[in-house]
Symmetry: C2
Subunit: 569 residues, 2 copies
């Protein structure tokens, strides 16, 4: 402590001395220091975040290109606290010039500047994973990519120069490469290798740790398969053999690769979801400052044309109305609109009734597919699902859907009758695992009164029972509470829709539970009566002097009667 001053001298600053120390902070430097904001706050979470970002990108690319996605996730432990993650897909591939930027630059991508439902939306994820790998191991991100039209593939090693937030290419070569996948059949035997003529593979080595459980890569991939029934997913994790002295730094993995089998989540449907549609911003979701900026940047020559072309739900007539209401000339040049005029325009827009934003840009998973996905992975007795109609928050269309799976108490060891229900949160088909407590979805489940649907529920908590609830929000822009995209922000419009959707499912659950209770009651009575039928038959036999055949006929008739009464219950 005594020699602390050696490290730096505290001096009185002036405006001039302070000016000398001012400087740019690159966005990479910012997120490197604040990497917990991106989901790299612990070794365990780092592994999940990396897999998640790579799989999300692969799925987005396949769907946009109309390709039925085939994805493999290969995780190999390479040291005591080191893992190599390789995610491969049969997507359209990436053209050579784009590879370095996509993997070696934060805030770069095609998804941020559009209103369109997709998994990625920020242009941060995969390059942040590469940056984290580089920070903790010094290694580059290795990318293989082959596009349809090229004969050979590219192999690139990319790093991110954090000072400038630009990629550095360490190696760039043409190679013979095609994506290959190794499915495992349901009986556990290896299936036929699948080869694709195009695709991408990304490999990142990083400091990480692998722990099974609710927050693991395994759970993420399982949920991913549930909500993306068109996805075929191959997964394996290669851990070093226990050699008695713990993890071995020198494990090459080569020996194990032959023995560790892949797990295949087979696809349940063979149709690619229709690509989603990009929409223009809705006028009611645009602030004054943004409106002014849009007028400055529009290619349209007149105010009326700008209103019609740059926004959704503004027809030529509506645009005319808005201009008149604002006291502006519809033929005015948009760039010439003064500050005070744009305020009048903004007010006029707010006062004009408009159709709600178009909603065919949203691709729900759908009630049937939600149930099919749940049935595939969750063994239960009652399934239901509700997809709500689209609604709007801050000008953005969105929709929610909810599915339930309820198991008979004791029937599914994973679903304890005394445990809180399990909540699976999904946003644009991406499962969210961390930060459940901060998420609008968890809050919505806790706020619904489940007691009225027949489930016990401690105050302000999740209900209790052998049940899984899946919630999905689809939107052109999902409002996450942080860059790591783990929880949905508490917009009242979103919470309201979630609540209605949960209540609809709850009512169906309630019908099932009541019927089940009634049936159980009848079953109890029936089994009680059934014991006495032979005794009654015997009594009748003696009184009426029946023979054995007649006695048996009486028993059959009585049982038949009981069955019929029972059915009516």
């Amino acid at each position: 402590m005594a020699n602390g001053k050696k490290n730096g001298v505290a001096k009185r600053e002036t405006a001039e001395s302070m000016a000398k120390r001012q400087r740019d902070i690159s966005v990479s430097e910012f997120f490197l220091k604040n990497r917990h904001l991106l989901g790299f706050d612990s070794p365990r979470k780092a592994l999940l975040t990396t897999v998640k970002e790579a799989v999300d990108n692969a799925l987005d690319a396949c769907e946009e290109a109309g390709i039925l996605p085939e994805i493999s996730v290969n995780i190999e432990q390479t040291g005591a606290a080191r893992f190599r993650v390789t995610v491969m897909d049969n997507g359209p591939g990436i053209v050579k010039s784009q590879i370095p930027k996509i993997f070696g630059k934060l805030l770069y991508g095609s998804k941020f500047h559009r209103l369109r439902m997709s998994r990625g939306q920020q242009g941060i994820g995969i390059s942040a994973a590469g940056m984290y790998g580089q920070l903790t191991t010094g290694n580059s991100t290795i990318i293989f990519s082959k596009t349809k039209n090229k004969k050979t593939a590219h192999r690139m090693m990319v790093q991110l120069d954090t000072r400038t937030n630009n990629p550095t290419i360490l190696k760039d070569e043409e190679v013979e490469w095609r994506p290959e996948f190794f499915p495992t059949r349901e009986d556990g035997t290896p299936g036929r290798t699948i080869t694709s003529a195009h695709g991408t593979s990304v490999e990142i080595e990083m400091e990480a740790s692998y722990v099974r459980g609710r927050l693991s890569v395994d759970e993420y991939l399982k949920q991913c398969a549930i909500v993306n029934p068109h996805l075929q997913l191959h997964y394996r994790i290669v851990l070093p053999r226990k050699t008695g002295n713990g993890a071995d730094e020198n494990t090459t993995g080569a020996a194990e690769e032959e023995v560790i089998p892949w797990t295949t989540f087979s696809r349940a449907v063979t149709e690619v979801p229709e690509p989603t549609i990009e929409i223009k911003p809705h006028p009611h979701g645009v602030e004054l400052g943004l409106l002014m900026k849009m007028l400055k940047d529009t290619p349209a020559r007149t105010l009326k044309a700008a209103l019609t072309h740059d926004f959704s739900r503004v027809s030529a007539n509506t645009a005319q109305d808005i201009c008149e209401r604002a006291g502006l000339n519809p033929k005015a040049r948009p760039v010439r609109i003064a500050h005070s005029e744009s305020e009048a325009l903004y007010k006029a827009v707010q006062e004009t009734k408009l159709m709600r934003p178009p909603t065919d840009c949203l691709a729900p998973i759908g009630e049937e597919q939600l149930i099919a996905g749940l049935k595939k992975e969750i063994n239960a007795d009652f399934y239901t699902a509700v997809t709500r109609k689209p609604a709007v928050y801050r000008g953005n269309p969105f929709l929610v859907e909810v599915a339930l799976a309820y198991a008979k108490p004791g029937a599914n060891p994973d679903l304890g009758a005394e445990d809180q229900v399990r909540v699976m949160r999904i946003a644009n088909r991406v499962p969210l695992l961390y930060m459940a407590g901060a998420c609008a979805m968890t809050k919505a489940v806790s706020k619904v009164n489940w007691k009225s649907y027949g489930l016990p529920q401690p105050r302000n908590s999740l209900p209790v029972g052998p049940m899984v609830i899946t919630l999905h929000m689809a939107s052109v822009w999902v409002p996450f509470t942080s860059e790591s995209k783990e929880a949905i922000a508490h917009y009242p419009e979103i919470e309201k829709e979630l609540t209605f959707c949960l209540q609809e499912c709850g009512r169906q659950l309630s019908v099932y539970l009541k019927r089940r209770t009634r049936l159980a009651e009848a079953e109890r009575k029936k089994s009680y009566i059934i014991q006495y039928i032979p005794h009654m038959a015997l009594g009748l036999k003696e009184m009426l002097e029946l023979n054995d055949r007649q006695e048996q006929a009486v028993i059959d008739k009585l049982q038949d009667m009981l069955e019929r009464t029972h059915l009516q219950l």
Copy 2:
């Protein structure tokens, strides 16, 4: 809905068509769309965040320049949902060339690239406030600044070009201007105007709303005064006069300005805190990738010199040891160190015992000042405070301190005996108001067993009682859970220190509460006995035939005896 497809056509993408849509996302565009990450998710919070960022900057600048801070916060309502915030300080001012960047560019500043305790640390805050103002009103940020050495001041109007994240200067002029402050005396009369020869004023108009209460600007400024006893703060909020038809768009504010008085939080001490010291990173907090980068960037010519100069706690001898352990030549050129060599170096660093980082870089508020601050604003009966010794997380030195104020039940109407205790969270002297539930500080208070110190406490909750707890964390880098800097991340080392500190305060509280209980008990006995003293005296008088004077003497003596016994309790 039917014409949705008009807005955009879903087409099958290829690698080539996707490449065309890839593009840079400027950091401003990113945060404009994600402005809730910066604390601009509601109009109410926007007002607080703006005041907070401006006041933080003013305090940092004053302290770095060794100036006793005088700050005014003036909030005027300018429309139904519009406010103008003006924050003025007597700091060193800003040189002209830096003004546009500081106020019109995100990720720019002097505080990010150093390890030094300060309020600001990101280079985002104030420019984000300006960007939000611009987005919601279209108006510029207006800055006045005068440095010591210049005769005239600068007035600038700055906007942020979100596409490039660069400032646009709309006006730049030399003006006659000095900061002026209008104190109000304790008796409510106006004091003498204070003028400064230097300082800065920043004015931002924005969509906002003003609500009193625990999350208000008022509460923030009050807490700010408590934890910065050297600060003199003038505050007023000018709301439009109720004219019957609600808020009036045309309120000029001029008429009201004369009648709305300022509230002055006078300073309690007249010493500027010693400027804090910048430190170098501690080797044990540096990852492999960062170590490699530092070796690439170092100005030092040898490996040994790089280790000694660029890190704290590495002496020449230690550097020699590290090199030998790693099998590297101490005279090797740092930029020439190969990947495998730096891995060896990293391992050697981790295995070498080093002194903990220097801690005189931390400026605690101090036990005395914490208590003085609390006494000024919170009326209570028992105060205590504990400042812990510095500790380390991820190579960063930090320290925590805790102060308590306990009021007799019923004595302070603000502190209900049946309410949860109030928790004031402070990081580097900045009060944190929002996101209490997500903060390590709140968690630490809930985890301490307050029952053993005499306070009721529901399971896993804050304790109950007429009490305020102030927690302060001081560090060269506070790990916030989001860019809006509202909650501290859950590092185990930080939680441990907070717990120990709370327990120390708890023990002192427990001594006070026990003594109070004992005293109350004795008081009860005393008042019971005292009733009988005159009767005893009368009895003695009759038995011993005393005169009135003697009787009185007996009463006095008995009472005196009782007092003395009581005191011994």
